[in-house]
Symmetry: C2
Subunit: 555 residues, 2 copies
Amino acid sequence: MTKENNEKVRVFALGGVGEIGKNMYVVEVDEDILVIDAGLMFPDDDMLGVDIVIPDVSYLVENEDRVKAIILTHGHEDHIGGLSYVLKKINVPVFATKLTLGLVEEKLKEAGILKDVTLNLVDHNSILTIGSTAVSFFRTNHSIPDSVGICVETTQGSIVHTGDFKFDQTPVDGKHAEIGKMATIGQNGVLCLLSDSTNAERPGTTKSETEVGQGIAEVFDQAEGRIIVTTFASNVHRIQQVLQAAVTTKRKVAVVGRSMLKVVKIAAKLGYLDIPKGLIIEVEDVNTYRDEQVAILTTGSQGEPMSALTRMVKGAHRQITIKVTDTIIIAASAIPGNEKSVSAIIDKLHRIGAEVVYGQAKVHASGHGSQDELKLMLNLMRPTYFVPIHGEYRMQHAHKELAMTVGMNADNIFLVDKGEVVEFVNGQARVAGKVPSGHVLIDGLGVGDVGNIVLRDRRLLSKDGILVVVVTLNKKTGEFISGPNIISRGFVYVRESEKLLDDANELVTSILTKCVSENVNEWASLKSNVREGLSRFLFEKTKRRPMILPIIMEV
Amino acid sequence: MTKENNEKVRVFALGGVGEIGKNMYVVEVDEDILVIDAGLMFPDDDMLGVDIVIPDVSYLVENEDRVKAIILTHGHEDHIGGLSYVLKKINVPVFATKLTLGLVEEKLKEAGILKDVTLNLVDHNSILTIGSTAVSFFRTNHSIPDSVGICVETTQGSIVHTGDFKFDQTPVDGKHAEIGKMATIGQNGVLCLLSDSTNAERPGTTKSETEVGQGIAEVFDQAEGRIIVTTFASNVHRIQQVLQAAVTTKRKVAVVGRSMLKVVKIAAKLGYLDIPKGLIIEVEDVNTYRDEQVAILTTGSQGEPMSALTRMVKGAHRQITIKVTDTIIIAASAIPGNEKSVSAIIDKLHRIGAEVVYGQAKVHASGHGSQDELKLMLNLMRPTYFVPIHGEYRMQHAHKELAMTVGMNADNIFLVDKGEVVEFVNGQARVAGKVPSGHVLIDGLGVGDVGNIVLRDRRLLSKDGILVVVVTLNKKTGEFISGPNIISRGFVYVRESEKLLDDANELVTSILTKCVSENVNEWASLKSNVREGLSRFLFEKTKRRPMILPIIMEV
């Protein structure tokens, strides 16, 4: 009993709070560290040139010997996309359900580390002991099959992580969320609940995926030409419903786009997608069928410039070009930040004259539960403490307010930042400091070599371009021999601004001449004189502030 | 009669179709050119460093002697923001209603051209002859007072431009849209209607501004600390309702932010804002009142980084800092592209712990009519031809579909691009070519000196930064004397990438040595050899493609 009473449980997020993306949560039970999810995030607009963002895992690296497992809730990129980067730093066994594991395997294979990693298959009924901690699962509904919530046992009660969830009363695969099991977990005593806040601002209940299928089926019924459907590649249930609509209307289906092909292959192989024989055709063969016999399932629902759909629209796709008789179903919503690119693709489709079906109402449903479902989860789990996760701060905040409407005390709800630790001892919670956390930016092959200074320079460069000023000085006399040469990029049209650049050249010459005559031949001062003088001149003439890079060569 | 039968009417948009912003429409009746509106647009994400965008008016410049007037429908930036730039190119009389003219005067004063321009005051009852063309007006409801539609008479029937409109059955100022007049215009025969497509995708009817006032009043009733309201500065009706709520709840009002102060001043002076004596206090005096006696009306509803609200949130505003007891009302929706910055400000307010009221439901209503109102306009005007304007292409398209539901023939509806001319002769319309049109980008003082090449360079620079490679050659022998020096900005952290840059330096040296030994001492080839070799090397090592700028100095 004494030992039990001293048990220390710590819960924190390394990613996923105060943001949408790169979910990574940590549950520590005494010495055991269990990591839940390892996601990526797509960069904000101001992270110029950055490809993806992953959590800072330096805490896990420092405590590698204590990290017993990474347990995955489901196979979305914001939950598994950072895994290969994390596993290169710490070698830890991974636990996941079948489809999630299938997607992870592909990812690790691409990263060349599959053989170095221990992957463990679990299902929603698994009960494991990891380190000395018991872990169990419960099935949820989400926009990818095989999603689970996680229950970590402690002597103070369980720590429950919902994963991403909704309660779909008519799930496409007939597999309901395990409400009974959740209620039992609740009855056994939940010390702390970590629950998905994505739709905490949305009243009511999220639409069933089955209704989306009906919407898609209606469009299939009415279309007379080809049908082109784009959705998130990972939405296997929706893909299944598209295939079903194709079967019903006697269409063949071509699958286009790298990620769509990958997910369809893996989901079919693992039994999550039922594909009738002869239904799928090669994209090369589309034109051997009449238009009304064809459906195309493609990537590009976010209007991504290089995606298959965008290329079809631009006439840059090798096999498919959008025609006026096509019906395009955009079965997705725009992820925040993508509104303009999605809008642009819809516009372009209209311009071609094709029929476009888009918008939440008919052909898309969120994978995340709305307020009534979040309240149901809280009522099932009846936790002593609550940490809203998975969302921007305002969503966590809205989730807190929901929890208070079902009777929770504000003091028992923690709106945590990344790294902020909630510690439980003897059933009592308190905020106990912070572990290191933050963004690690990945640009090309570089992990973490792009930071604030590089980004600041990129922002400066993007705004008004750069002027490089080169001059060659005589090392001994300090006189300048050649130059100044001014080369600009991203500043003005050189041809239309010859006078401006000539004047700038003259100014730099006079600054340098003055410096030389005053014997200011220390480079740093020379450079700063040039930079300041030229910057002032250009701002006066153009109200722009390009980056100015003086380079002094000595011979 | 013969002359009348030969009358040629041409209608086209120089801006405002296929986009939200920079509205500018042209109606030509034989030799008379009438311009409707002269707006600006805020740059797209890919227009790096650009401040604002205005229409290309080269057609108007070429035909300056025929341009009889610029007539303004209302005082929003996307309708008047380009005016000072246009008037610098062509000197044309401007016609507008009182509030619009007040805002225009301020703008022209700032641009230093007020004294050079002829401004003509009109009201909704004015009937003018401009050139030899009769022009009349009708009052509409919109999110700024004094909005009008325009009716241009031709012998073939009238050309009607709705301006931006909704039908508000309970307008704040009691001034209803002139439905009777619109019906009369319709009965007299409308050749062509140009109508606002902004909300053509939205079913039903747009909420009345009065309901928004009730929502705001409720928040005022309940708040116990200070109330801070942000909305579009030009939404004078809403500002009036905020003032009213302050009066009712016995609060003083401080007005903060340059554009808010400007509009309040102009609107009050011209009688569009009724400000009880003693209601407004200086922002410096806010702290001399108790919190429950204060309301603050501020700019920043789009989360603009330099706006007053953002500065209050960051603690960077001189007089006001957000407190946990404040209630902030964000009485606006995010303009497309601003979703993330609005979301960020809401987040930050929640983090401070303040109460935040936001979202369409309660404290904001659109200024544009929804589908039922657009249909009402079509039914009132009963035009022979219809040109949906003011919107992205998909909104124009949705508006076309609405027109077809009220009985218009698809052949009589023109979904025009910028510059595309619809020509009317003997009551028959046809598309008749294109006039020059496009974006003119304004960056600092430069109008039009930033174009595709400059933007391409900025994009390149923003993605992976730049490497400048400088080398000094002996003019006679072709040998290199100094360098290569490699300076990078926005590429990698130099400190963490010394090895990479050293290797790059070595590579450039070997390329140059090889060139010199092979007598490739023509600069262009030297440069392209360096650029290609280095680019390949860096891509291999980093998967990035920085801009590479080789500079060769001769001494």
